[in-house]
Subunit: 133 residues, 2 copies
């Protein structure tokens, strides 16, 4: 188990953790492009604010673009990442916190399933939920 704060790089980490952290850094600066660039066409998506799963990159793009510029957090912590890899897939799960200044921390559970496509690791499934909402 490794706890990594912000951009702290750990060269022993699995590539999908690096991808995830880079996309999160952009996400928390209001830019959903980092996630969109590494999501597969057939990506499916859950978060606590939508009534049903979002299916496919076009629908996810529409949702994410609606959030562009609205999300800001100065700090984040991606803690205890676990990668379970077999064949062409890798399931990454972690606990997550983000916060501004001395403000309250938003606490999340996250699962990301990556698939090794011809173009590299791509997200095929995202599930964000609030930790003990």
């Amino acid at each position: 188990m490794t706890a990594c704060i912000d951009g702290t790089a750990d060269s022993t980490e699995h590539e999908v953790i690096h991808l995830e952290r880079a996309a999160l850094r952009r996400w928390l600066d209001g830019d959903p492009g980092g996630f969109l660039e590494i999501s597969a066409q057939d990506v499916v998506y859950f978060d606590p604010f939508i009534p049903r799963r979002i299916d496919g990159l076009p629908a996810l793009t529409a949702y994410y673009e609606g959030l562009r510029g609205t999300i800001r957090a100065e700090h984040f912590e991606l803690s205890s990442p676990v990668v379970q890899e077999a064949g062409e897939m890798a399931a990454l799960s972690f606990n997550f916190a983000s916060w501004n200044g001395d403000g309250p921390r938003m606490l999340w559970n996250c699962t990301e399933v990556y698939r090794r496509d011809a173009v590299g690791w791509r997200i095929v499934q995202t599930h964000w939920s609030l930790t003990q909402p």
Copy 2:
């Protein structure tokens, strides 16, 4: 997309959907054994009632056994299951509802990542969250 209610079998469905439905049927009859029997040693688990991810089958067994006999639902609906399979893994995601009589429906998002181990498909990652809590 297929909506399946209760024990409705659909022979075209992926095997992991059959496994999931069979385990859910036992789960909603108070028996966590169905899930424990198809979970891998390295399974990790999120739900909305725990402060951190549960790691490993012994810890998950302790948690599930504490719930034995406490969960009952007469009906359930596993809707719009999607299976994304590559190599030795298959990520199953679905929306879920359970209810008793004319009572309110509990609505869930669920992701289950299965891995094809020597003994068959085994769950390596479970993520349950409430839909728009």
